[in-house]
């Protein structure tokens, strides 16, 4: 057949085959703003995961009288370094510092020698102190270093947002898939449940629960997850409803493929577009939610570094401009990066956009 020879030659001369996911990634990469936002964001996250090496009130390594100490990993008594009391060493104490820099002793400090909870008892300016050579971004009203707080606060926010996005997305996919795949009465019942569940006053529940239970990140995660899956579940449901009556699903059914296999092989991969598109926006939503709850004092337990708590300090100390400004800048940059990524992702997955080579 002349047709078949033409067919085979046109297949074999084509460029190497790319999966639809891979093509979407290439389209994403072509959006330079989105791509570099992703790179920068990943870099910031990795850096914040190594926060202990960047901002820490304990030296990374101490060489004292011929012996090597690892204060990052272990507590050492002050007596070890010639102090008077059997308490954990405060490495910011000028006395200890002096001992550590004498007679060939040395200590390797992190670039920013403050932890998130470190109170600098030896600050030269009153709290809150404006940016100085010691505290590059100044201190907050309790004398804690602002830079350290921002680094650790960013880390808490991002990790919390990742966890919340993960659980919310998982719940959304599972519930949406169940509704969309089975349809009919299941769908009807679930939709009514969502309407009831969605009309619960989320904020008041949060306030009540934070009064009943000790506030913690885990409690927040659970509560926000319980209310955060509904939007996504509607999208997944719609995708499933659309895809399940397409011919490739009918063909799979007539081959006798089981329900679970149809979901796994056919429906899930083809219903992921809204899920992936929403990921960055869900992340930024989660960060904002945590920040606003902290701002209201309903969020993380006291003492946890948090952007929301810093904003609230900035509000209370309106003339300490460095607190509000620095926190605000961190938030804006984070959310902006996520938004750029989201835009690029949306364009990359847009079925109407043609594949330019």
């Amino acid at each position: 057949m002349s047709g078949s020879t033409r067919v085979s030659s046109s297949i074999n001369t084509a460029s190497p085959s790319l999966s639809p996911g891979r093509r979407a990634w290439l389209r994403f990469k072509r959006n330079r703003l989105g791509y570099w936002s992703l790179v920068l964001f990943c870099l910031l996250v990795v850096l914040s995961l190594m926060a202990e090496l960047i901002s820490n009130d304990r030296p990374l390594l101490v060489r004292y009288q011929g012996e090597t100490y690892f204060p990052m990993a272990r507590d050492y008594s002050e007596k070890t370094f010639g102090g008077d009391f059997d308490t954990a060493t405060d490495y910011l104490d000028p006395f200890i510092r002096e001992r550590l820099s004498r007679d060939g002793n040395w200590a390797l400090f992190a670039p920013n020698p403050y932890g998130p909870k470190t109170l600098n008892y030896f600050a030269k300016a009153p709290n809150p102190s404006p940016p100085t050579a010691d505290n590059w971004l100044g201190t907050d009203d309790r004398g804690r270093d602002l830079l350290a707080q921002l680094i650790y606060g960013f880390r808490v926010s991002v990790l919390f947002a990742l966890a919340l996005t993960f659980t919310g997305t998982l719940l959304g996919i599972v519930t949406g898939a169940i509704q969309g795949f089975f349809g009919g009465k299941t769908d009807l019942a679930f939709q009514r449940f969502i309407e009831i569940w969605g009309s619960m006053p989320e904020l008041y529940l949060l306030i009540i629960f934070s009064a009943v239970f000790a506030p913690s990140l885990a409690l927040l995660l659970i509560l926000l997850s319980l209310f955060g899956w509904m939007g996504l579940s509607d999208y997944v449901r719609a995708e499933f409803l659309r895809n399940r009556q397409l011919d490739y699903v009918r063909a799979a059914r007539s081959l006798g493929v089981s329900n679970w296999q149809i979901i796994r092989r056919h429906l899930l991969p083809n219903s992921m577009t809204p899920v992936v598109t929403f990921l960055p926006f869900r992340m930024s939503g989660a960060i904002l939610a945590l920040t606003s709850l902290d701002f209201l004092g309903l969020g993380v337990p006291p003492g946890t570094p948090s952007l929301g708590e810093l904003l609230s300090q900035g509000k209370n100390n309106i003339d300490a401009w460095w607190i509000s400004l620095a926190t605000f800048a961190v938030l804006v940059v984070t959310l902006l990066l996520l938004t750029f990524m989201g835009d690029a992702l949306r364009d990359a997955l847009d079925p109407r956009k043609a594949d330019a080579p």
């Binding site: 067919v7 084509a14 085959s17 011919d247």
Partner: protein, 532 residues
């Protein structure tokens, strides 16, 4: 260029983002002439027509298109806007999307009149009624206030035509005006166009892939392939003596009957008795909270399919023929009796699975019938995972390659085939995808295939190849087909027995030569004569 020329196109080329899709074509249309522009999908025929009115977004056009002495391609946008709709009008393929769903058809026609001729509102509404009456819409005074969704498909297309003809254009561009319509309506719309064309003395450029339409309608035909005009001339001459190889192939693309004729009696493979399929439909109002209405999609169908033979099911959209196919596949609940080799659907899971191995399906749309995120190997091999899970990975791959070779995909050695296996559906053309769908169905060696409009979405030359493949597979393997189609040519080429369905009921059945040559039912006669 003679004086008697309405539109004269010289060296028109159109390119998108640097790649040229129409390569410098020349043609002309005389006043009052009926010209057909023929070609398969991707030949550039629609782009050519749209670019005459500069309606193609992001396209770069070169060349000249002089209309009444004015160059359409270089005139200012303002002047062109005056020509659009007044001197050159257009009708589109899909009237549902070409009409504004929020405006009544009367308002839409009146809008053209007030904009282009400056008629007062009341007068233009009266004129709209006249135009609708002229296009043969019953009760035009009432229909003028109807919204597009309240009209039937044929009436919508008539309203579109009324709108296009509102200002008595000199040239009408008709882009596949009958493709979205049922067969019996196509002839009527074509007659209407011919009548109005003669009455108004306008020229018509009919863009189509349907050669029957061209033969009946056009004085002159222009054949396009891949953005080139390969042949043009008088319709009768071109059809009688096609010069270019492509035109010859196009004209020879009518499906040819090449099937083993029935030999005597044999036990039926599939037997249906009083098959009935009912859909629940919502009822409006409070009553609908507790009860659902019923829509009978198939009522009391009885038929038999003999081994190695094809039962063709003919009918228009909404006649229940696709529902019949889904019921035969056991994908829809049904009442009545349907047995395949003495077995019925729904007895128990293990029996159903065994039955599924016997009855497979090929759908119409080659784009939605393959999951875009699976490779060829995963798609074609899917049935093996269910029905032959004991196969090793290598054996499975071998079976997939054999299945692909059987459907004429991949003639290379194994190494080249392995590459093909890793490709995704979007890298294949429509015809190739349909072959993939056939391979997926055949890999588990079924005894029967349900073919739901297997070639309707394909170009005519590709359609012929796919039908030849199906005929060959039937001869070699003794497959039975349940062939659902609206195309009489396909029935004529493939079927042994025919059912004609209308509104869920079988109105006529019998051997193919009898039904097609001596149709008994009035509806069958319409279908057969419309295909002419």
């Amino acid at each position: 260029m003679s004086a008697n020329t309405l539109l004269d196109v010289q060296g028109l080329s159109v390119s998108f983002a640097g790649s040229e899709v129409v390569h410098g074509i020349d043609f002309s249309i005389a006043p009052g002439e009926r010209v057909a522009l023929v070609g398969e999908s991707g030949s550039g025929k629609t782009v050519t027509a749209l670019s005459l009115l500069r309606l193609v977004a992001n396209a770069r056009m070169c060349g000249q298109a002089s209309f009444d002495g004015l160059d359409l391609l270089s005139m200012p946008e303002r002047d062109l806007r005056a020509i659009r709709g007044r001197d050159i009008a257009m009708i589109f393929q899909e009237p549902m999307t070409a009409l504004n769903p929020l405006m009544t058809v009367g308002d839409q026609i009146a809008e053209v009149l007030t904009l282009k001729t400056g008629l007062a509102k009341a007068q233009s509404v009266q004129r709209a009624i006249d135009l609708l009456a002229e296009t043969g819409i019953p009760e035009p005074e009432r229909r003028v206030n109807a919204f597009p969704h309240q009209l039937s498909g044929g009436q919508r297309q008539r309203a579109m035509i009324a709108m296009a003809l509102a200002c008595q254009p000199k040239l009408l561009l008709a882009d596949e005006p009958t493709t979205a319509l049922d067969v019996s309506l196509r002839g009527q719309i074509l007659e209407l166009l011919t009548r109005l064309q003669q009455k108004n003395g306008m020229a018509v450029l009919l863009i189509t892939h349907d050669l029957n339409l061209v033969r009946r309608f056009a004085d002159r035909v222009i054949v396009m392939e891949n953005g080139w005009i390969v042949e043009q001339g008088n319709t009768a001459d071109v059809f009688a003596r096609p010069q270019h190889a492509y035109t010859q192939r196009l004209i020879a693309s009518t499906p040819v009957r090449d099937v083993a004729e029935s030999q005597g009696e044999a036990p039926a493979v599939m037997r249906a008795q009083g098959l009935r399929v009912v859909y629940p439909t919502p009822i409006a109002g409070v009553r609908g909270w507790f009860r659902r209405g019923q829509f009978v999609a198939v009522q009391g169908a009885s038929f038999e399919i003999l081994p190695g033979q094809t039962l063709g099911v003919m009918g228009e959209s909404g006649s229940g023929k696709s529902t019949l196919a889904l019921a035969a596949l056991g994908l829809l609940p049904f009442q009545g009796e349907l047995q395949f080799a003495g077995q019925s659907w729904g007895a128990n899971a293990a029996r159903d699975k065994a039955l599924r191995r016997q009855v497979q399906v090929v759908f119409q749309d080659p784009f939605s019938s393959l999951s875009p995120r699976l490779t060829v190997e995963e798609i074609v091999g899917e049935g093996l995972g269910v029905h032959a899970p004991e196969l090793s990975k290598d054996q499975r791959q071998q079976r997939v390659m054999t299945a692909l070779r059987d459907v004429g995909l991949g003639t290379g050695d194994d190494a080249a085939m392995v590459q093909t296996l890793q490709r995704y559906p979007h890298e294949f053309s429509g015809g190739q995808r349909q072959r993939l769908a056939i391979a997926r169905a055949l890999i588990i060696n079924p005894g029967m295939l349900v073919l739901d409009e297997p070639t309707s979405a394909l170009d005519v030359t590709v359609q012929k190849q796919v039908l030849q493949l199906l005929q060959k597979l039937q001869r070699e393997r003794g497959l039975s087909y349940l062939l659902i189609t609206h195309d009489v040519d396909v029935i004529r080429a493939m079927a042994h027995g025919v059912l004609v369905m209308k509104d869920g009921a079988i109105v006529e059945s019998g051997p193919v030569h009898q039904v097609l040559t001596q149709p008994q039912h009035a509806y069958t006669r319409i279908l057969v004569s419309a295909a002419g």
